[in-house]
Structure formats: structure tokens, C-alpha cells
């Protein structure tokens, strides 16, 4: 499956200088993500999972070690449009229509007008929002808004999709449905996905690789290669195999003292 590493971290450290002194957000992180993998980062707040994702996106700069994306520095990868980023909130512009919002990165990156329209049509149908292009964000439900923000991240055809708790603010029923759709979308587009989450079932259901992280200092305690097939109906979550992986994730969290509050 992995012939060439898309994301590679070797001994990555990241220290934030705060008024209360330095905080070690990431300590000695080693990770290799191959092309087409779906990697989840799971752990309690403060374990550095979001920081790691932001470092991959060049929104934070590691203070030590090497981090490469597509064989380049994260900064160069960003300029080469290597990834699309989805935040926890949809963050659509209220003054733009859904199509206008999806067009935003295309305008900034200078795609031609006809290309823009074609791409918007394509990605909106990919997230099953055909016909909603002319609507304004407030006319859509929270789940649909988040789908639009995923469409926006897909619009410029980056190979990597980075998602920071994209469904964290949604209720569980909507979340289940979007998880299912995300898997379908991943199968169709064959993108490499980095996905930050708080939820063990979500991580196990979605991922081919689960990175378990622990706080103080933020570090990786376990990396689990999922044995589940790529084709995953929702009721796969009741199988013994699924429960065994969930159990291992929980063990990894416990080993990192994530349950000691």
C-alpha cells in the first residue's frame, strides 16, 4: 500500500513559548503516512493532535526534528497546494453563496472562470450538495454547512485532506451519516486523509491507521494498523474485530495516563 511516504515525521519536537514558560506540545514524534491512507489522531485535549496536524499544514513550525509532506517542507507543500484543510467549524462566509464559498480558494489560486464553475459543480455533487450552490449558508443545516466546507477543501484537487475534528460540533446521528459519506468520498477520490478526533468509535470506523496520543508532553503512545476491510458498513461497529481495535485504542490512551484527570 505504501510505496512512498506522503507525510513523514522524524523526531519532531514543538515547544510553545508562553508567558508561563515553555510548553512541550510535541515530543519526539515519529510517523510515516503512505499514499491513500486514512490516519486518525486520537487523544485527550492537550495531547498535541491538533498541533501535529497544524504542523503538517505549516500553520505551526516544529522546533526540532524533520517533517516532510510530499517530500518537501510543509511550507513548500502548502505553496504547492498539497492539502485542503477542514476546521471544526464550517466557517463559511455569510455574504457568499455555497458555490461562492467553494469558489473562494479557486479565486485566490487564480483558476479560470470556466474551470471554477466546473470544479464547484463537481465537488458539490461529490459531497451530495447538488442544487444547493445558490443557497446562502444560513439556509443550510450544520451538517450541510460542514459538507460544503469539505467541498471547499476538495475544490482545488489537493492530494491530502487534513481535517481537525470536522464533525465535533455535530450531533451523533448527523455525524454517523457524514462518517459514512466521508468513507465513500475517500474511496472515490483516493486521497490521503489526516483526521483529528476525540471519539474512539469514529477513529476506529474511519481509519486505516490510528495514532494514539497522550498529553504532557504531547507524544505518540501507539500506532495501530487497522485490520478492518476498506468497505465498511455502519454495523461493522458491532463486530468483535472492531471492538478489539477499540479496546487497543483505549489501552493506548490508558498507557499514556490519558484517563488520569
Amino acid at each position: 500500500m505504501t510505496d512512498k511516504a506522503v507525510i513523514e515525521a522524524k523526531g519532531v519536537n514543538l515547544v510553545f513559548e508562553t508567558n508561563d514558560g515553555p510548553v512541550q506540545a510535541l515530543k519526539d514524534v515519529n510517523l510515516t503516512v503512505g499514499k491513500g491512507e486514512f490516519v486518525s489522531f486520537i487523544g485527550p485535549s492537550g495531547c498535541g493532535k491538533t498541533t501535529l496536524l497544524r504542523a503538517i499544514a505549516a500553520l505551526e513550525t516544529p522546533t526540532g526534528g524533520t517533517l516532510t509532506v510530499n517530500g518537501m517542507s510543509p511550507d513548500a507543500a502548502r505553496k504547492a497546494r498539497a492539502y485542503g484543510y477542514v476546521f471544526q467549524a464550517a466557517g463559511l462566509y455569510p455574504w457568499r453563496t455555497i458555490a461562492g464559498n467553494v469558489k473562494l480558494p479557486l479565486e485566490i489560486m487564480g483558476f479560470s472562470k470556466t474551470d471554477q464553475d466546473e470544479r464547484v459543480r463537481k465537488v458539490l455533487s461529490l459531497v451530495e450538495l447538488d442544487g444547493f450552490g445558490a443557497k446562502f449558508p444560513w439556509q443550510l443545516s450544520g451538517g450541510m454547512q460542514q459538507r460544503a466546507s469539505i467541498a471547499r477543501a476538495l475544490a482545488f484537487d489537493a492530494d491530502i485532506l487534513l481535517m481537525d475534528e470536522p464533525f465535533g460540533a455535530l450531533d451523533e446521528i448527523v455525524r454517523d451519516r457524514l462518517n459514512e459519506e466521508l468513507l465513500k468520498l475517500w474511496a472515490q477520490t483516493e486521497k490521503t486523509i489526516g483526521f483529528v478526533t476525540h471519539s474512539i468509535p469514529e477513529a476506529v470506523y474511519l481509519s486505516t491507521k490510528i495514532v494514539v496520543m497522550s498529553p504532557r508532553p504531547g507524544r505518540i503512545t501507539d500506532i495501530i494498523e487497522s485490520t478492518l476491510p476498506r468497505e465498511r458498513p455502519l454495523d461493522i461497529r458491532d463486530t468483535p474485530e472492531f471492538l478489539a481495535i477499540s479496546h487497543r485504542v483505549r489501552d493506548g490512551l490508558r498507557a499514556g495516563h490519558s484517563y488520569d484527570v
Binding site: L59, R78, Y83, Y85, F87, Y93, W95, P105, I108
Partner: protein, 287 residues
Amino acid sequence: MNRVLPILTVVAVIVALWYAATVWMNAPWVRDQAARAGQEVTTSQLVRETLNQERPVLPAPHQVIAELWKGVSGQAVTSKRSLVYHAWITVSATLLGFAIGAGLGILLAIGIVHNRAMDLSVMPWAIASQTIPILAIAPMIIVVLNSVGVQGLIPKAIISAYLSFFPVVVGMVKGFRSPDRMQLDLLKTYSASQSQTFWKLRWPSSAPYLFASLKVAVAASLVGAIVGEMPTGAVAGLGARLLSGSYYGQTIQIWSTLFMAALVAAALVAIVGGIERVTLKRMGMAR
């Protein structure tokens, strides 16, 4: 009706207090006159006379309204006795000053948001500029500009702009900084340039702040234009009208001009408010 009733109650109370004050403040003059003539004044006579003096200390509401009505509809709007004529002179300076002030305010805010040196240096000066009494600086602006041959509308507009740029700077700095961290990070992931970030995110996000500060600025512009008419010996405009009223003790004229200024200010603020409602609704940002 639920909304009109409280407003009418307050207006009625104000009018009643005003009438009471009119009688009380104008009474000494009436008593004085009676004493000189060796007459006694009854209470009803006192009330009637205090409310209808030609040059009262405080004119009664009906006198002010009558004068206002006469000024607005009593003659052709081109007449020098028409309040509409004077109001237009002032409004033209107000609008020019407002345009200069708002434009300058927005430009300064852009500079402050994008340039650290300006961020640290401009705001203290802007605040200092507003602590100088406008009445002190207005004559100097007029004298200086007059010496270089600029007269008439422009000096008044500059004084008006001097008052109106400040609320726009303060509001727009806040507005341009209103997009949250996530919004800015999103544009960073697209490697957007500063000008793209400005036009696509900061400028539209600042719309609610823009209109809030423009409402304050347009009212300040009017004050600036009126003040600008006072030390110039201007012959036209609401400020000139106020000044000539005070020279000749025409208190009714002063009060009716003040009311005219208040009406103009209300109209200007209402126009900005109307544009605000339409724009924010179209932008999906209506409250």
C-alpha cells in the same frame, strides 16, 4: 401602539416641562415691565405674556415650531431667509467632509492593521487630535487655508472631516481585525496574499463596524460643518444663522435653527441606517 405610547408620553412630559420653564424664565422681564409702568400683573396675564414675547430668554415650543415652519415653507428655498437654503449650504459641506473623513478613516485603519509602525504610532495622534477643542482649531484651519487661497466649502468640509475621521478609524480597525483565527488560518492554507485576505475577508467582515462608525461620523460631520461656519463670518449656513441669531438676540431664530440642525442630523443618520439595513441583509449579516 405599544411603541408609540411611551414615546408620546416622554414627548408630552418634555413639552410640559419646557412650557413651565418658559414661564419661569421669562417672568422676571414681564414683572419688570409691569413694575416700571406701575401696574400689577395677574397670573393669567403673566402666562400669556411670557409665552409670546418677541425676544424671550427661552422661547415657547409653539414659537419655535412656528418659526421653523415659516423658515421651511414660508418662502422660496432659494431665499436667504429660508432655513432649507441654509441647511443645504451646511449639508453640502457636511457631505463633502463626511466623504473625506470616512475615506481618510478607512485608509488609516488599513494602514494600522497592516503596518506595525502605524499600529503603534497613528492611534495616539488620532486620539490627541480629538482632545483639542474643535472651536480652537477651526479658526486656524480657516485662516491658514484662506492664506493659500482656499475659501468657501473646502475649509468647512475639512473641519467636518477632522471630527468625522476618528470614529471611522476606531471602528474600522476593530472591523478589519474581527475575522477570527480560524478564518485567517483558512486563507493561510490557500497561501493567500495580504491584499487577497483584505478584499475577500477583512473588508466584507468589517461591514457591520463600518456602518456603526459611519452613523457616528455623519452626525459629527454636521457638527463640524456648523462649527466651521461660526468663526468665518459666513453669511449662509446653519452656523451663520445661529451666529446672527445670537448677535441680534433672536432667541427664537437660534432655537429654530437648532431644531433644523437636529432634524438634518436625524435624517442623515437615518439614511446611513437605511443603507446599512439593505447592505447587511444582502450580505446575510442582518441582526
